[in-house]
Symmetry: C2
Subunit: 331 residues, 2 copies
């Protein structure tokens, strides 16, 4: 089988070769060729333009992550199935809980160097930090990631509000409340932490704007582990700068470095300079455990493709393909 | 009723007065008088010397915390009952989980200021952090604090080993394994995090020495939220300095500032200067929630004393008192 792995994930080609074993050809490409047909049995990439999609001839487009918003689905030929992969929910939930505990503990309010003078200065009248227990967390997007966050937050006896597109009620052991995104503004005033972990699409772009940040208020924490654009960029900067929003842990950004292009700051606004922002370079999911889980999953999916078995995590299939392959239904 | 609140907790006298209401006299003292009788219905203190104990005439010695190792129990008159108070297990468990997540995430390995250059420099080849999931945590001392830590650690799918004095088996939902402290060395090589949360007594002083730290190893995290002296001071410093132990989150110390005395560093060894030490000034439990829970509990116990009802959290009662008050049994 011929597999192309393209872009940011190309350096992981050796890992995939090891997992697939003999008899497969794995080609690593920093980028798609600018012209001409792109032919393979499977292509692994998280980004595909309309032009690239029109030149693509493959049966499986395997996205090596969850988000597919950079893939021009509608321009794909009818013979291509798109799959994504999970496994990042564990480290992202851990990242999120760390941010919540960090916000409660405020360890930066204690001396960075606990020498004799500092100890004497802070011991008798120690600043009091806060507790996570009893706090309310709203989780915007209640898929794999949201549910893993909820499970851990509940062990801390936090009150969990799941905010979903339709507000469909779920099991009581998952969340204390399920509300529709249309009711978000009504719950925000009693929310201590808002976690953004929903897909980016036309319904969520700019969903969190100046009004929502104002409703969260000056003590609240905002965690974004989804896509930056769910939150209005300027409104976010201004709310944090003016301390109308307490703090943010931001792992996803409005601008990313691109190979061969000049460096760019992660936002047009100097978000990364604010003392109440924890800015990380999109690392919440990047663990050896994640890569291990993801590449095993993708190798398994490639094996399924070769054996003609139903693929896992199908997120898009053209009507043509669906007719030809009745087993391959969108998940 | 006459209540004396003495030492570090004296500044909280107004809070206690508010809770007790009219008809009670709450006296705040920075220290016990150097000579003469100490008379009250109840004394609130976490420290009482043999000399002070011999001069004490009160029915209730209420320790405003859990640890009673600074109270000279055996020198107390037979009419004094000693009670302690919990409520700190929640913030201490949160502090401990934060330390474990911090150790997994290693956020200090990312740029402190995520500007354009830093973003470009770290994005393509992002360092990989670790996950808490699947890690093994040994909890030395499995009382209130240990069990709250265990509950939260399990939500992260960590493997929990409860290490207790006698190794008595407990419920499977509390810990995956229960071992006696005599078997500690045998489990340490597979432990990723050791949390020390046992009382300090003759059986635990110096329990964690050079050999135990060596068995933990260069990737492990050590969290101490109990008393410093459970861990050998010099061995701890040398293991961390030489990176034979990975990292430590230390909230409790070998030396504390004392009013009217020159400042002292928290250890005879410069532990607080090591980059792999998170040194905090005994704050893991100090939250408004804790103080609220504790003073409500103590006000309730004082009310019980006045009404002649059984006291809560009795930790010591002389044989004389036990004969006179058959209801007041040690908890």
């Amino acid at each position: 089988m011929r597999v192309k792995i393209v872009g940011l994930h190309a350096p992981h080609a050796p890992r995939l070769r090891t997992l697939l074993g003999e008899g497969h050809e794995v080609e690593a490409l920093a980028a798609f060729p600018p012209t001409g047909e792109i032919r393979a049995d499977a292509v692994i990439t998280n980004s595909l333009s309309t032009d690239e999609a029109a030149r693509l001839h493959c049966r499986l487009l395997q996205v090596p992550g969850a988000g597919t918003e950079q893939v021009a689905m509608q321009a794909l030929p009818g013979t291509t199935t798109v799959c994504n992969v999970h496994g990042h929910e564990v480290p992202i939930a851990e990242f999120t809980l760390h941010a919540m505990l960090e916000h409660a503990l405020q360890l930066w309010s204690y001396p960075a160097r606990l020498d004799a003078e500092a100890f004497a200065g802070c011991y008798a009248a120690r600043p009091q930090h806060d507790e996570a227990q009893g706090k309310t967390v709203a989780i915007l997007g209640f898929g794999h990631i949201g549910q893993e966050i909820a499970r851990r937050a509940r062990a801390f006896d936090m009150h969990v509000i799941a905010v979903t597109r339709g507000g469909r009620q779920g099991a009581a052991e998952l969340a204390h409340e399920f509300v529709a995104v249309t009711a978000l503004d009504a719950v925000l005033p009693r929310v201590d932490t808002l976690v953004v972990c929903c897909p980016l699409d036309d319904g969520t772009r700019g969903l969190i704007g100046a009004r929502q940040l104002e409703l969260l208020g000056p003590k609240a924490l905002l965690v974004n582990v989804a896509r930056a654009e769910v939150i209005d960029e300027q409104a976010l900067y201004e709310a944090l700068r003016d301390k109308r929003l307490g703090r943010a842990a931001l792992d996803v950004w409005y601008r990313y470095p691109k190979p061969g292009q000049p460096p760019v700051a992660p936002s047009r606004w100097p978000l990364h300079e604010l003392p109440n922002v924890r800015a990380t370079p999109h690392i919440s999911a990047i663990t050896p455990g994640l890569l291990d889980r993801r590449y095993r999953f993708m190798a398994d999916n490639l094996g399924r493709l070769q054996a003609g078995q139903p693929l896992h995590n199908v997120v898009f299939q053209s009507p043509v393909t669906r007719r030809e392959n009745p087993d391959r239904r969108p998940a």
